[in-house]
Symmetry: C2
Subunit: 248 residues, 2 copies
């Protein structure tokens, strides 16, 4: 048995999310089947750093697994890429200590969210951005992002249905940058953990603040009320990317 | 009757090309049906600057048509965009003299071709680039491009099946530029006209020259032999964009 860590990118458009589900095309399902094929077994279980929803992309998802045999890192990288569909690319394969676990060893994650600012939907970016054609004051967004950084109870920003009780998370960095050349604004969030749909709800709320539909410091109120109904919007999956997972 | 010119962008991935065909989703078909809906008729015929194949994209395709009524340019732009699927965007609507014809009035066209240079296929660019992971000497490509510029008989670079007899075309500009930030090289060709598949065959030949699989000045030989079998390759549709159509 050899223990591996893979770092991978995928276009989430044609997946029913990361997590395996019967009768659905999922990233985990594709990985497990490919590894099974290599090892001549049915499938090999992989642990992911966390799930991504249908339509959500990854620039640096991480998975770990035990493989029955010892394949050098570069050979594992080549072999897995040769078995991947074109919407998954394995970026890196590493042999790691058996104690490494893609989810439990993770210390933090970084998400990116791309917002298209054109008047109409850009055909080439419709699957890779959210779209917000309304006037947007980035100074207001910057000001609101200061309230996002820190340790907060994000109950108002978690989709219902999650089983996790503790909704307190720490955001180390929350930024927005203008990319006028591509007519986009790009959010990044780096934190120790994220609740279900949290980034997409944060982005929707920040856009509403930037367009004057909410008070600049509405986050302070939303943390206090702990009510998902107050932060209504959820930005589309298409703009969201799991950019990086951090380990010690 | 008012005569209009539309400039549009589309993601060619999910179209069976520009030109209308029975039972197929085509750009022309979508445009004609939308205009018909606006005018409350079955469909309104549109003339395109030329067809693009299935999977080929457009950043600036041009069409023209007669519309039974007089709609201001901005209203036409808004109305058409509201009827377009997300993979077509109307960039501009103009009222033009009746003599204007998207194809017959065109004086030249510019095509762009994006080549991904990564070792493996990039999931996010698989539908928007060709892929050439082999070593590539851009100096050799630059040298070969000098042979592309000018007036030549492009018989060796036209897919068979075309009905056009005269295969002489003039290329005003042919360039390649390196985009190391995106790990791509980008070709552009500006000429008075292009034969069927010509840009894709030119690109495949140029890549072979750049990788040392053909002589640098192989174009000179290929013009002379007038034999499609000699320029074998055709770069994938996914990398090709109709960038601009020029009119007087």
């Amino acid at each position: 048995m050899t223990h591996y860590k893979l770092t991978l990118a995928y276009d989430g458009t044609h997946f029913a999310g990361y997590q395996i589900q019967p009768q659905q095309r999922t990233v985990q399902g594709v990985l497990q089947k490919a590894l099974g094929k290599m090892a001549k077994v049915d499938a090999i279980h992989v642990d992911g750093s966390g799930r991504t929803d249908s339509g959500v992309h990854a620039l640096g998802q991480v998975v770990s697994f035990d493989y029955p045999g010892n394949i050098p890192e570069q050979a594992m990288l080549r072999a897995m890429n040769s078995l991947m569909p074109l919407d998954i690319e394995i970026l890196k394969a590493e042999i790691v200590p058996a104690a490494f676990h893609a989810r439990y060893s993770a210390r933090g994650k970084r998400y990116l969210y791309r917002v298209a600012r054109g008047r109409f939907t850009d055909p080439f970016n419709r699957l890779y951005t959210g779209h917000w054609p309304y006037p947007l004051d980035l100074n207001r967004v910057q000001e609101a992002l200061k309230d996002v950084v820190g340790t907060h109870d994000f109950t108002s920003f978690a989709a219902s249905g999650g089983v996790i009780q503790d909704k307190v998370r720490t955001i180390y960095e929350a930024t927005v940058k203008d990319d006028p050349a591509h007519h986009e604004v790009i959010f990044e969030f780096y934190g120790n953990g994220f609740l279900y749909n949290m980034v997409r709800i944060l982005v929707a709320t920040l856009l509403e603040i930037g367009s004057g539909r909410r008070e600049v410091h509405d986050f302070i109120r939303l943390y206090a009320v702990k009510d998902r109904q107050q932060a209504r919007g959820t930005a589309p999956a298409s703009g969201l990317y799991l950019k990086e997972v951090y380990y010690d």
